[in-house]
């Protein structure tokens, strides 16, 4: 069937609300408004205000309430409009959701799912455009997912809800309109493994979320010039599936990492470090990274484009690696 990423996210929510009466959705404008990205449009009418719950503008309170509700036996899905606003709930996410299991010596599970949008590309300027999922991937106790395809948008939520630990799902804001074919019977997906989205032999390009499309486009360009790129979609940013990345590097001997986070201290830095630690002698060229410029994302279109990892930047990086 033909569908969009937005509809796939909505279908995942509808499916979860139908299958398990402990599941409920809570967040700002998820109900009457239909979700500020229209993801939850129609769910209020279908499931009622108990289970599709509009909250006040109180990120810390409703994220923390999600933690409490999870402790109380429910399976909350909490939506934060964008990762930028999640910082107002960072205390609850980091100091409670991520730590309670450990601090309680294994007694308190927090089976909570938090969804939020991330990323730039819509001229929303600095306070609505940052990619901070790499920060969250720094935190032990959290599982971090970044669905980049229709299958993952449809399937990751249910798998996440089965997880006894807190899971953060990052939906890239530019992906909602992406359309394509999805199997009618598409369902839950594995959230432990990265995926090879395009096999290739000359260079490994690692991407995730919003940068997967950029990497695949770049791979098309490279194919035109005789370079066969393998594109890996990380899918899960924590814990990282390094065997898939290392396996690819062992075949191609070259690595480009594409990350919409800032380069310093980023997820790309972590991947580069791990490949250097574990597979240095597989490499035939220095590791290349294509990241966001070290600047708050500007509003003006040309400046925003210049700040973000672009298709041409990935092509150039791959060409340097292949030499």
């Amino acid at each position: 069937m033909k569908t969009t990423y937005r509809e796939a996210c909505r279908e995942a929510l509808r499916d979860a609300l139908t299958r398990d009466d402990r599941v409920f959705l809570m967040g700002e404008d998820v109900g009457a408004y239909g979700g500020c990205f229209a993801v939850s449009l129609g769910l209020l009418e279908e499931f009622g205000p108990e289970r599709v719950r509009d909250t006040p503008l109180s990120e810390s309170a409703f994220v923390g309430a999600g933690i409490g509700a999870a402790l109380g036996g429910l399976r909350p899905v909490v939506e934060i409009m964008t990762v930028n606003f999640s910082l107002l709930a960072l205390d609850q996410i980091l100091n409670n959701a991520a730590t309670l299991l450990h601090m309680s010596g294994g007694q308190l599970n927090v089976p909570l799912v938090i969804r939020m949008t991330t990323g730039a590309g819509r001229q929303l300027a600095a306070q609505h455009s940052h990619s901070l999922e790499g920060w969250y991937a720094h935190i032990p106790g959290l599982r971090i997912l970044a669905p980049a395809t229709l299958e993952d948008a449809r399937g990751m939520l249910w798998t996440a809800l089965q997880d006894p630990d807190p899971v953060l799902l990052f939906e890239h804001g530019t992906l909602y309109g992406m359309s394509g074919e999805l199997d009618d019977d598409a369902g839950p997906v594995d959230i432990d493994r990265a995926a090879v989205r395009r096999p290739g032999t000359d260079v490994t390009v690692v991407a995730y979320g919003g940068t997967l499309g950029t990497a695949l486009d770049a791979a098309d360009d490279l194919a035109g010039t005789g370079i066969d790129a393998e594109v890996i979609d990380l899918r899960t940013l924590r814990p990282l599936d390094m065997p898939t990345v290392l396996g690819s590097v062992a075949r191609t001997h070259r690595l480009v990492v594409v990350d919409e986070g800032w380069r310093s201290g980023s997820l790309s830095a972590e991947i580069a470090a791990r490949v250097a630690e574990e597979a240095l002698y597989e490499l035939d060229a220095p590791i290349e990274r294509v990241c966001t410029a070290e600047v708050p994302i500007p509003y003006a279109k040309h400046l925003e484009e210049a700040a973000l990892p672009r298709r041409d930047d990935v092509v150039a990086a791959a060409r340097r690696a292949v030499g």
Partner: protein, 329 residues
């Protein structure tokens, strides 16, 4: 251990139980100071001495199925909730037998089986969790109450206001218990709050709120019983402003430069333990023997807890990274 005269009437029994809880908390913490000085226990340790009437009075109002969310000053709450003293002390010793397997320490006591959800060292951090526990109970139609204990310092945090609004809006079964000991570390309430009547501030959210003399265990118990009854009746949250005082420093590191010795002495005269004993003597035929029996019981419980804690094994270092993620998915 039996307490002869005092067990005579049901009322006397309840009052004796309040006293028993206060005495065991007080004596436990006095021993903790010694153990701390002897470096048997470490970390930040915050004593509850002077405030015991709250733990005793509030927690007696709850049923075993109710939930409790606490702060870093929670030894008294944990003990009054029934977390075994052995497990509390072993936690402070950092042993496997501790109620958090040595990963929490004094500030992070947990006991899932007693619905005791911490132990939280972030001021205000427990309020959203309590709100969510109450939300779960309400959505599952359980007749349960969540008691959330926090200090006056938390009232200045945004989370306090976010949660009171949310709990009132959704009529959640939460008992907000503000332990107003008039100081947040060294900062007096009047130096940090534009409006110091905390019950009034809570009532601005449409939440029934009462100030309570929390140096009087009977007054605390009465107020808590009344509030819990109202919450179970479906009225939504209640707020108790429990006016109390800590006799000791904020933590073991506090040189206490911010308040006068005379002020502390004044409050010590209101000590809730002798005060309750006087009431029991006057109204319930309580005798010296009754007091001695309660003291002896507390002493032997503490002695046994120390022996058990010292004998408790340390969690193997190989298990360092356990409980970061669940072992079963």
């Amino acid at each position: 251990m039996s307490v002869p005269n005092a067990a005579a009437s049901p009322r006397a029994k309840e009052r004796t139980e309040l006293l028993r809880q206060m005495v065991r908390i007080r004596r436990f913490e006095e021993r903790c100071v010694e153990l701390y000085s002897a470096a048997e226990i470490r970390g930040f340790m915050h004593l509850y001495i002077g405030e015991e009437a709250i733990a005793a009075g509030v927690l007696q109002a709850l049923d075993p199925g109710d939930a409790v969310v606490s702060t870093y000053r929670e030894h008294g709450h944990a003990l009054a909730r029934g977390v075994p003293m052995d497990a509390v002390l072993a936690e402070m010793y950092g042993r496997t037998s501790g109620c958090s397997r040595g990963r929490g320490g004094s500030m992070h006591l947990f006991d899932a089986s007693r619905r005791f959800y911490g132990g939280n060292a972030i001021v205000g951090g427990g309020l959203p969790i309590a709100t969510g526990l109450a939300l779960a109970d309400k959505m599952r139609h359980r007749p349960t109450v969540t008691a959330c204990l926090f200090g006056d310092g938390a009232v200045a945090e945004g989370e306090f206001h976010e949660c009171l609004n949310l709990a009132a809006l959704w009529r959640l079964p939460v008992l907000f218990c503000c332990e107003n000991n008039m100081y947040a570390m060294g900062t007096a309430l009047a130096r940090s709050h534009a409006a110091t009547d905390l019950a009034l501030r809570a009532s601005s959210y449409g939440i029934p709120s009462w100030p309570v003399d929390a140096m009087d265990a009977l007054a605390v118990a009465d107020a808590a019983n009344r509030a819990v009854e109202s919450i179970r009746g479906g009225s939504g949250p209640c707020f108790l402003e429990l006016r109390t005082y800590r006799f000791r420093a904020h933590s073991m590191y506090d040189p206490e430069r911010y308040r006068a010795a005379a002020e502390v002495e004044h409050w010590k005269e209101l000590d809730p333990i002798p005060r309750l004993i006087a009431r029991l003597r006057a109204e319930d035929g309580f005798t010296d023997d009754d007091v001695a029996a309660i003291e002896a019981e507390a002493e032997s419980e503490i002695a046994a807890a120390i022996t058990a804690a010292e004998a408790g094994p340390l969690e193997p270092v190989e298990d360092l990274t356990r409980f970061v993620y669940s072992e079963q998915r």
